[in-house]
């Protein structure tokens, strides 16, 4: 187990290294510098600016220096939001995105597993069919259709919830539903398929033969095994929620980290972009690692070291 975690951590460093390198050089490839305005800056001022933001000197040297700063946890200054460091910007906005993502994560996993087991338990009834039809639609509708539709219905025609913004509990409801909806549907389908398979197994028949109630059989005995495919989907789920939150934050004007993705690209704000990309990728890879370890604990048939 330790050996597995150690190899994966090495892999994490390799991935982060490639991500940093690709981002750094792609940003420098873009024509137009971060200080280009309508009027050209006087040369000495531009020089000073470049020096302040450590953008002077030959490119390989800049790259090495940047890697050095990263190792010390310094993500540098943002060239757009002058005098604010990338660390500060992320410290302000990440908790917002994290809260939204966390709620969506819980809604998606719990809602999906519940709906899926319910549909499997009531197979061939209208409950099953309606749930699966709804799931099909939720999967094929992208979040930027679901989001504005929800706004149209629950904030404009029946004004019970705010259109957007941040800070109140009500303002959390529509964004988290929008973000979670496709994954509720996906997990429900996953759980249903796996549950139907598990329900044919011998130990389930034994549990029924013992006279246990149907609920105990399904939610206590069968679910424990049926949930495994869902656990292995948790890693990709986190990745999708991270990228999905970019859109959802823009629909509901939520001050999260997602907006910095697009804006930093448009503003040629290289260090901010690199910072956001690094943080997102780290979170993602760490999460995948946790999921793999968790999987090993849940399913003893799996050995993590080969």
């Amino acid at each position: 187990m330790l050996r597995f975690i150690a190899t994966r951590c090495l892999g994490l460093i390799a991935i982060l290294f490639s991500v940093v390198t690709i981002t750094f050089f792609l940003v420098r490839l873009m024509p137009g510098g971060p200080f280009d305005r309508e009027r050209k800056l006087p040369e000495h001022i531009e020089k000073q600016l470049l020096a302040k933001y450590k953008l002077d000197g030959p490119l390989p040297e800049q790259y090495i220096n940047y890697l050095g700063d990263l190792v010390h946890g310094d993500l540098r200054l943002s060239t757009k939001y002058r005098s604010r460091s990338v660390n500060e910007i992320l410290a302000d906005s990440l908790p917002v995105s994290g809260l939204l993502g966390g709620i969506a994560f819980c809604v998606a996993t719990m809602g999906g597993v519940l709906l899926g087991s319910l549909a499997a338990a009531k197979q061939h009834t209208w409950i099953d069919r309606t749930a699966m039809l709804a799931a099909l639609f939720a999967i094929s509708l992208p979040s930027f259709v679901i989001g504005p539709l929800l706004v149209l219905v629950f904030a404009i025609y029946v004004p019970v919830l705010p259109v957007g913004g941040w800070g109140t509990v009500q303002s959390l409801i529509l964004p988290s539903i929008t973000l979670a909806a496709p994954y509720v549907a996906y997990i429900a389908r996953l759980t249903r398929a796996s549950m139907l398979e598990v329900l044919t197994q011998d130990y389930v028949r034994t549990a029924r033969a013992k006279g246990l109630s149907e609920n105990t059989v399904i939610y206590k005995h069968a679910l424990r095994v049926a949930i495994l495919p869902v656990v292995s989907f948790l890693g990709p789920l986190a990745a999708n929620l991270l990228t999905g939150s970019i859109v959802v934050e823009s629909i509901f004007s939520i001050p999260g980290a997602g907006s910095f993705f697009v804006n930093s690209v448009l503003n040629r704000d290289g260090f901010l972009l690199a910072g956001v990309v690094i943080v997102y990728c780290t979170l993602l890879v760490l999460f995948n690692l946790i999921v793999d370890v968790l999987y090993g604990f849940l399913d003893r048939r799996i050995t993590l070291y080969d």
């Binding site: 490839l29 873009m30 024509p31 094929s140 259709v145 404009i156 993705f261 697009v262 990728c281």
Partner: protein, 309 residues
């Protein structure tokens, strides 16, 4: 001998893939719907009255006989915009998927046929790319390459085409980030094919590796790859609309479904609910995606039943 009998019995019992596909109503309906969408996208903008795509003063007219889908912020007919969006979205989806198809097939065949050290290095690279969220990578890639292409077009006297540079960039970038699954599938196919006797026979009569790859392996795996091509198209359309929604994709006066939805989301937030701006592009896009997925699933079940999930 026994295995040969088993194999031949399997051949007799299994219906031909086309017959299987014909017995799948969802796939057939989807195929017909897609042909209808494609025809409407190609001919619709030509058949509509001239001037429907122009900016006028008739902003936000609700759906009526004259404008069945209503008009948008700039007074353009929404039906025209949706059909134009269908053109761009389908073009980007199909062309982007084709790019990923070519890249994925070549990469997968080289890795699978090369085997050994080369194979493991190439597949680790694919693993690393899998670990990077694709849309994040796309945002960076597009913003780096788009100005380069624009400048290149300006210096080579192609100013007239500059409006379309974004489409080219989208096709390239989406294609170059979407090939990973295709490469894995093709590699798997090559691994199982290359140990078969016809490859050994080809090698024993002195065929070059190039010939073996392209004349013997490629025809055997192209079917499976084509099936996955149809599943890549909706994924690329979805990614394109995501990028257009965020403002790094197609720009007005061109249209794509993502751009139309983004415009709608912007004007819907104020007190007025211009529902048609949202509903019609959403229906067009969702139905197309749904149909593409049904058709892709149907094709996969018919041609490659082992891969069924």
């Amino acid at each position: 001998m026994a295995s040969w009998i088993a194999a031949s019995r399997f051949m007799i019992e299994s219906r031909s893939p086309w017959a299987k596909l014909r017995r799948n109503p969802a796939a057939i309906v989807s195929g017909i719907a897609l042909i209808a969408v494609a025809l409407a996208a190609i001919f619709g903008p030509i058949l509509l009255p001239a001037g429907f795509g122009e900016v006028t003063h008739n902003s936000f007219l609700p759906p009526s006989d004259q404008h069945p889908f209503g008009t948008d912020l700039n007074g353009r007919d929404l039906l025209y915009r949706v059909l134009l969006g269908a053109r761009v979205s389908m073009l980007v989806g199909i062309a982007g998927a084709l790019v990923s198809f070519v890249v994925g097939i070549i990469y997968g065949m080289v890795a699978g046929y090369g085997g050994g050290q080369a194979d493991s290095i190439m597949m680790r690279f694919v693993d690393v790319l899998y670990a990077i969220p694709r849309l994040i990578f796309l945002l960076v890639l597009i913003s780096a390459l788009d100005p380069l292409l624009r400048r290149g077009m300006e210096t080579h006297g192609l100013q007239a085409l500059i409006g379309y540079s974004k489409i080219v960039i989208l096709i390239l970038c989406l294609g170059l980030t979407e090939w990973l699954t295709m490469a894995r599938i093709v590699r798997g196919q090559v691994l199982s094919l290359k140990s078969q006797q016809f490859v050994l026979a080809a090698r024993s009569i002195g065929q070059s590796h190039f010939n073996i790859i392209f004349q013997h392996l490629l025809p055997n795996l192209i079917g499976v790859a084509l099936v996955y091509l149809t599943l890549t198209v909706p994924a690329v359309i979805l990614d394109e609309s995501f990028l257009s929604f965020l403002g790094v994709g197609v720009q007005a006066p061109l249209a794509s479904w993502g751009l139309l939805l983004s415009d709608a989301a912007q004007v819907i937030n104020p007190i007025k609910g211009y529902w048609w701006l949202l509903v019609f592009p959403a229906i067009a896009m969702s139905l197309t995606l749904l149909a593409l997925n049904f058709l892709g699933d149907g094709l996969r079940d018919a041609f490659d039943p082992r891969q069924r999930k």
